[in-house]
């Protein structure tokens, strides 16, 4: 690239500005993406008195962890986290199980009306969950499943299924079929080949699909609000709404609870960013 640009006519006037423009663009992107979380972090370390000051302070004058203690004491925050983690983990596992079977059939086996099945998958991916609100509420109420993990796991699996299936289809198709045939000649069944050969080789795709399913379940709000409204059964996004009273908004405590909820997310993103970026759009752009 460098040798190439040497061959181009120099543009002396734009050079210094280009550098400045580039760095201010970077600053804008970073500020846009990270300032809201950073502001919440700063708020979480301020005390009530400092918060009520006018003009507001930017950096906490007397940083303390008191808000975090309150966040855990005022509401069952640990329970919210447990519910969110349990629901998200179980629905991710179930999604991956069902999606990898379906994806393998679509990638390798003769599926009647394959085009229609794929289009159906995309159709479900675009389905508005809000339309499911009343019937699911009725169904779960009849089955006595309101305020249970299962009430959320079932819809979450279905809502993530299409994206995960489409992601896995493209991964499975990129593997050479000879590997499975060799295994099958050696006495492996189709399912054995899927389990022992295809899935391990598609680990990045499985991981990406799993991450998408997990984030979908972790973030969902409307169904969780409607189906699991008892405080002890709330997931994190719905539970955090409980900190606000009828007329009071304890912002420092809400901020502390938000920080507790956001930090694990940020750590996961930094660790696995490559995977997420690579796989996030596979389903969407394919679809």
């Amino acid at each position: 690239m460098n040798t190439f640009s040497l061959a181009l006519p120099a543009r002396p006037f734009t050079r210094p500005y280009a550098g400045l423009l580039r760095w201010s663009a970077l600053a804008a992107v970073l500020l846009n993406g990270l300032f809201p979380a950073a502001w919440i972090l700063l708020t979480a370390f301020k005390n009530e008195a400092e918060l009520a000051q006018s003009p507001i302070t930017w950096l906490p004058a007397h940083p303390s962890l008191a808000n975090f203690v309150h966040a855990f004491r005022d509401q069952p925050l640990l329970q919210f986290i447990g519910n969110s983690a349990g629901v998200a983990a179980l629905s991710t596992a179930l999604t991956l199980l069902v999606a990898s079977g379906a994806a393998y059939a679509l990638a390798r086996l003769q599926v009647p009306r394959r085009g229609l099945v794929l289009a159906g998958m995309v159709a479900v991916a675009m389905f508005p969950p809000v339309a499911l609100l009343t019937p699911l509420f009725e169904i779960m109420r009849t089955l006595g499943l309101l305020n249970t993990w299962l009430a959320l796991i079932l819809p979450y699996v279905v809502l993530s299924l299409p994206v995960c299936t489409l992601t896995l289809v493209s991964f499975f198709q990129s593997l050479p079929p000879e590997l499975e045939h060799a295994a099958m000649v050696d006495g492996c069944t189709r399912l054995g080949a899927l389990w022992h050969i295809v899935l391990p080789l598609s680990a990045p795709g499985v991981f990406t699909a799993g991450l998408l399913a997990f984030v979908n379940a972790w973030d969902e709000f409307l169904l969780s609000l409607a189906l699991n409204s008892a405080p002890a059964h709330r997931t994190l996004p719905v539970g955090i709404q409980l900190y606000q009273g009828e007329f009071t908004f304890p912002w420092p405590v809400i901020s502390a609870a938000l920080v507790v909820a956001i930090v694990p997310l940020a750590v996961v993103i930094v660790l696995f960013q490559e995977r997420v970026i690579g796989g996030l759009t596979a389903g969407a752009t394919k679809g």
Binding site: A25, S54, G101, G115, A119, E138, S255, L258, L280
Partner: protein, 312 residues
């Protein structure tokens, strides 16, 4: 991995060493078996509920009273057409679509173009795109409600520094709507940016090199290479954002609860209030059928293309 790459262009359809006739039947059965769980779940969570939804929209079904539900035909639909709250919420929802979809596309495109430059350390830029994407929408609603707080919000603090009088953002109907739109654009632009970024990375660098040799400037390159080749990604992002904006719920619920004076209330919020708070399932179902119908129209635009591509 190299061996995998070498044999990459082999056909994906199975070419078994065994005679085809001995395999085809059991393969077909296995395919159906593998697809079955997905279809059972789909039937249970989507197909049956949609049928139930349409049926319930024809009943005066209330979960609160002990009385039986009666078939009332299209009464619920007639009621909602005459309901001023519904009209108001429909206009708000339409407003969210018209404002936040183009807004998020523009901001997302800009974010992606910057993120796609050659940065030596990549993770801060990526975190800046991924964190807003991964954040629950309700969190971004809460965070922006705090930003726009009249007395202690950072937005009014900045305005004061520029000599502008503080604005009661969430207490004025117009400003509250603007604030909710800004929060939605912030949250949605990261999703758009990630889709556009994936599209940008598929554009071959040779195109730009050739254009530069032909003397094309930055703007000409963007106008004649980047934008046309990004069109499919932008179209996908636009469709998915439109569908999401039609269902706007989390952000106004967390920021304003639909207020002040219903200025930020959406159709999705009306469905939730009617179904869960009033337990008026018939009316909520009719509302949901209407919203579902509109989303379906948008989806069909997209599905037509997918189906054509899958068969091509």
């Amino acid at each position: 991995m190299t061996t995998l790459v070498l044999s990459h262009d082999t056909p994906t359809m199975p070419t078994p060493a065994h005679p085809r006739s001995a395999w085809s039947l059991s393969e077909r059965a296995l395919a159906c078996l593998l697809l079955a769980p997905a279809f059972v779940l789909l039937a249970l969570v989507v197909i049956y509920p949609v049928g139930r939804l349409v049926y319930a929209s024809l009943l005066d079904l209330r979960l609160s009273g002990g009385s039986d539900a009666h078939f009332v035909g299209l009464q619920n639909y007639a009621d909602l057409l005459n309901d001023a709250d519904v009209r108001h919420a429909a206009l708000n929802t339409l407003g969210y679509v018209v404002i936040t979809v183009p807004g998020a596309l523009l901001v997302g495109l800009a974010l992606a173009l910057v993120a796609n430059l050659a940065w030596r350390i990549k993770w801060p830029v990526r975190l800046a795109l991924l964190l807003p994407w991964a954040l629950p929408m309700s969190f971004s609603g809460l965070i922006f409600a705090w930003f726009f707080h009249t007395d202690f919000g950072v937005v009014n603090d900045l305005l004061c520094r520029f000599g502008v009088a503080p604005i009661s953002f969430l207490l004025s109907p117009t400003w509250a709507f603007v604030a909710v739109c800004l929060a939605s654009i912030w949250k949605a632009s990261s999703f758009v940016a990630l889709i556009v970024l994936a599209g940008l990375q598929t554009i071959p660098a040779e195109l730009y090199q050739a254009a530069r040799l032909d003397g094309a400037g930055r703007w000409a390159q963007f106008r004649h290479i980047t934008l046309p080749l990004l069109a499919p990604s932008l179209a996908v992002a636009a469709i998915f954002r439109t569908l999401a904006a039609l269902q706007t719920f989390d952000i106004p619920y967390a920021m304003t609860q639909g207020g002040p004076a219903r200025a930020t209330e959406t159709i999705a919020m009306l469905i939730q209030t009617n179904a869960i708070d009033y337990l008026d399932v018939g009316y909520a179902s009719a509302l949901a059928v209407m919203l579902f119908g509109v989303s379906l129209l948008v989806s069909l635009l997209h599905l037509r293309r997918v189906y054509r591509e899958a068969n091509a």
